[in-house]
């Protein structure tokens, strides 16, 4: 039943450009969609392996920068007379490169960071993001630093009369939707596989998982790589939509936004980031349309966040799910979920 619901939803979403001619609304859908993809990737780390990574925007930004740089071309001096250069490549190639580079970074950072856990891991993840940001700011020869990489080419597929160019809103919206669906499927497959079960096991009780032979670090790193790669895709989409990338892409507020989407939606659920993403992607726009003072718009946003988390600490999706299954089995589902709560460290 729920499988069909999923595909029905996708079909409905795909039809949107046919009847929705409000370009601004499509724009909001696109930016929200990009953040939802990033939120889904964060959910893999935060929700499924239970690691509170607050540096996630680093992977997003690396994906954006890689895609921008590969499609613009670059040249850097490794030694005073020796340069490494790359001629501009087509955008689709750049995006694939972005996924690869982001994934690799995920591997490297994962291997280094997972020597620590809990609160320490939180700080390490923030620190990594900050260092990446500073590299972007200071390595001007490569990244243009604060002067920004602009005029990023539009994504084009095919050639000649069959060329599909993703400049206009409807096409880009469908692209984002397609990528989101693919990512969702990848994550769903991973989570429901043996690897996924191992991750959930180590989230629930790491020492117990180790004692039954689960290689914790291996699975954590795996989760990071996949998570980083997907965040990289989101970053690449961003780069080819907004078409300018500068170190501001590493703003902490973006990480915060993703975290909000995951946790309010329901971490550790597949639908969570989508629901949370939709809610907190649309709320700022609704607030903007209400024409109250800008600072107060933020205040309402913050209060709403607090209320959602306060009354639905496990997130919206589990709350709805709990409500429905509570109706049927009279509370056993709730009991089961509370028993599975991770032991407070």
């Amino acid at each position: 039943m729920s499988r069909y619901f999923g595909w029905l939803l996708v079909a409905f979403l795909a039809s949107v450009p046919l009847w929705m001619h409000d370009f601004y609304f499509l724009h909001v859908l696109i930016t929200t969609g990009i953040f939802i993809i990033a939120a889904m990737s964060l959910n893999l780390l935060l929700g499924y392996t239970g690691q509170l990574s607050l540096g996630h925007v680093a992977f997003f930004g690396i994906g954006a920068y890689t895609s921008a740089l590969v499609s613009l071309g670059f040249q850097i001096h490794v030694l005073p007379d020796f340069t490494i250069g790359l001629a501009p490549k087509p955008a689709w190639f750049a995006m694939l490169a972005a996924v690869a580079v982001a994934g690799l970074t995920g591997y490297a950072i994962g291997k280094l960071s997972f020597r620590v856990r809990g609160a320490y891991f939180v700080i390490v993840s923030i620190s990594f993001a900050e260092v990446v940001r500073l590299v972007a700011v200071n390595w001007v020869e490569l990244t243009q630093g604060p002067m920004a990489l602009n005029n990023i080419p539009v994504l084009r597929l095919g050639a000649g009369p069959l060329e599909l160019s993703f400049l206009r809103k409807p096409e880009f919206y469908l692209l984002v939707l397609a990528v989101a669906v693919v990512c969702y499927v990848v994550i769903a497959r991973l989570v429901n596989s043996r690897a996924g079960r191992a991750m959930i096991a180590l989230r629930e009780n790491e020492s117990l998982a180790t004692s039954v032979g689960i290689d914790v670090t291996h699975y954590l790193v795996l989760a990071t790589v996949v998570s980083a790669a997907i965040a990289g895709v989101a970053g690449a989409l961003y780069a080819h939509y907004i078409r300018i990338v500068d170190p501001d892409i590493f703003l902490f507020i973006y990480t915060v936004t993703m975290v909000i989407m995951v946790i309010t939606g329901g971490k550790g659920t597949l639908a969570g980031p989508i629901v949370g993403g939709a809610l907190f992607g649309f709320v700022p726009e609704i607030l903007r349309a209400m024409e109250i003072e800008p600072e107060l718009q933020w205040v309402v946003y913050g209060v709403l966040m607090i209320l959602v988390v306060y009354f639905l600490p496990r997130g919206i999706v589990p709350a709805i799910g709990g409500y429905f299954s509570g109706q049927k089995s009279g509370g056993t589902a709730e009991a089961a979920t509370t028993a599975a709560e991770p032991v407070q460290k």
């Binding site: 601004y24 724009h27 630093g145 604060p146 002067m147 602009n150 907004i242 300018i244 903007r288």
Partner: protein
């Protein structure tokens, strides 16, 4: 009977809808995107306030093309993604034919692709990065000066002020880096040497390390490019650490009034480039305009320290309106074409647009006047150069 309240509500709603719709028909809308919250909120709000003054002045004088103008101001939250969203909304929902924005260079650069996509012109009121007018975007019309222009205007003063060795302290973003590069190049071609070039994070509050280095470098002058909050701290800390150099601030976001108020004695003896000197408006190109703006600003009780930024919004609106008038209609393409030919007597000077950038896709760039003022005994005075 139960349906009556519902029906009445609907009726009221529809009437309201129709009325506002009808009202909306009667105004010409101008979009404004500024950082009203976030890191640049102070400046963004000043620009928005200046723009509002112009809006009401123009409407009192009858508006343009027989209709009143209506500014639609959106908050871009000091964040490039939001800046793009504001421009999207202003163009696609509010259907503005011309925009003013977006304050900082990164925010302006972020929205430029959208301007080209939708073919709507934007008047750039503050940003200083050269890239904005050299990227080949024919929808950009900048009234603020570039760092290169500012440095060029400073040239004759190098000898007059006797600058032999100068160091630089600037923020690590496009604003600071652009300014420091332009000024240091200008100095080198004018017989001066460069000491140390120190950067600072735009959010930093402690500059003791950088100042100690500058002190040890033996420079006689220090060029500082940053916003007024950091400038206040730099002046205070330079005094605390006894860094006895002549301090010159660049970039125009320096608000000398605020410096006097907050840095007190430490501000004396410092120099500041300004694009509008509210302390002696009579030296500006169009003193009647300057005085009118200042009077209205003070009447509304706005912070006096904001005069040096609010005028950008003020001039921006007047230029937009001049473009609409010359075009004869509130259509983006017509306004874009018409802006090339306008001259506006503004606070920036006699505003007009020269071509700048790659051939065939030039942007418009104004050449504003640049002033140098100094603070003596707690007052801003003209320099004697």
């Amino acid at each position: 009977m139960r349906k009556l309240p519902g029906l009445m509500a609907t009726a009221v709603f529809l009437t309201g809808f129709v009325v506002t719709g009808a009202y909306a028909q009667e105004t010409i809308k101008i979009g404004v995107t500024q950082p009203l919250t976030g890191a640049f909120a102070a400046s963004g709000n000043y620009v928005a306030q200046g723009a509002k003054i112009a809006e009401e002045e123009i409407n009192q004088a009858g508006g343009v093309l027989g209709k009143k103008i209506q500014l639609i101001t959106e908050d871009n939250k000091s964040n490039p993604t939001e800046a793009v969203s504001t421009v999207e909304k202003l163009i696609t929902k509010d259907k503005v034919p011309v925009l003013i924005g977006a304050w900082s260079s990164t925010l302006t650069l972020a929205v430029m692709p959208k301007l080209e996509e939708y073919k709507v012109p934007m008047i750039v009121e503050t940003s200083s990065s050269g890239k904005i007018t050299t990227s080949g975007n024919p929808y950009i019309f900048r009234i603020s000066p570039t760092s290169a222009m500012e440095a060029k205007a400073f040239q004759p003063l190098v000898k007059k002020m006797g600058i032999k060795k100068a160091s630089f302290l600037y923020t690590n973003n496009d604003f600071g880096i652009g300014s420091a590069n332009e000024y240091s190049n200008m100095l080198k071609t004018n017989g001066a040497t460069v000491g140390v070039m120190e950067t600072m994070d735009p959010k930093a509050t402690d500059f003791s390390a950088q100042l100690a280095k500058i002190k040890a470098s033996g420079s006689d002058t220090l060029f500082v490019t940053t916003a007024v909050e950091q400038l206040t701290l730099i002046l205070k800390q330079a005094k605390e650490q006894q860094v006895k150099v002549r301090i010159i601030s660049c970039g125009g976001s320096n608000s000398p009034d605020q410096l006097i108020e907050q840095a007190g004695d430490a501000a004396n003896g410092s120099y500041h480039t300004a694009f509008f000197p509210p302390w002696f408006p009579e030296v500006t190109k169009n003193p009647e305009v300057s005085k009118r703006y200042m009077a209205e600003w003070k009447k509304r009780g706005h912070n006096v320290g904001g005069l040096t930024e609010g005028f950008r919004g003020f001039d921006g609106v007047y230029v937009a309106v001049a473009g609409i008038k010359a075009a004869g209609k509130a259509e983006p393409e017509a306004i874009r074409a018409a802006l090339w030919g306008v001259t506006v007597k503004g606070i920036y000077g006699d505003i007009h647009f020269n071509k700048e950038g790659p051939a065939g896709k030039e942007s418009g760039q104004n050449v504003p006047v640049v002033y140098l003022v100094t603070i003596t005994n707690g007052k801003v005075v003209k320099t004697s150069f």
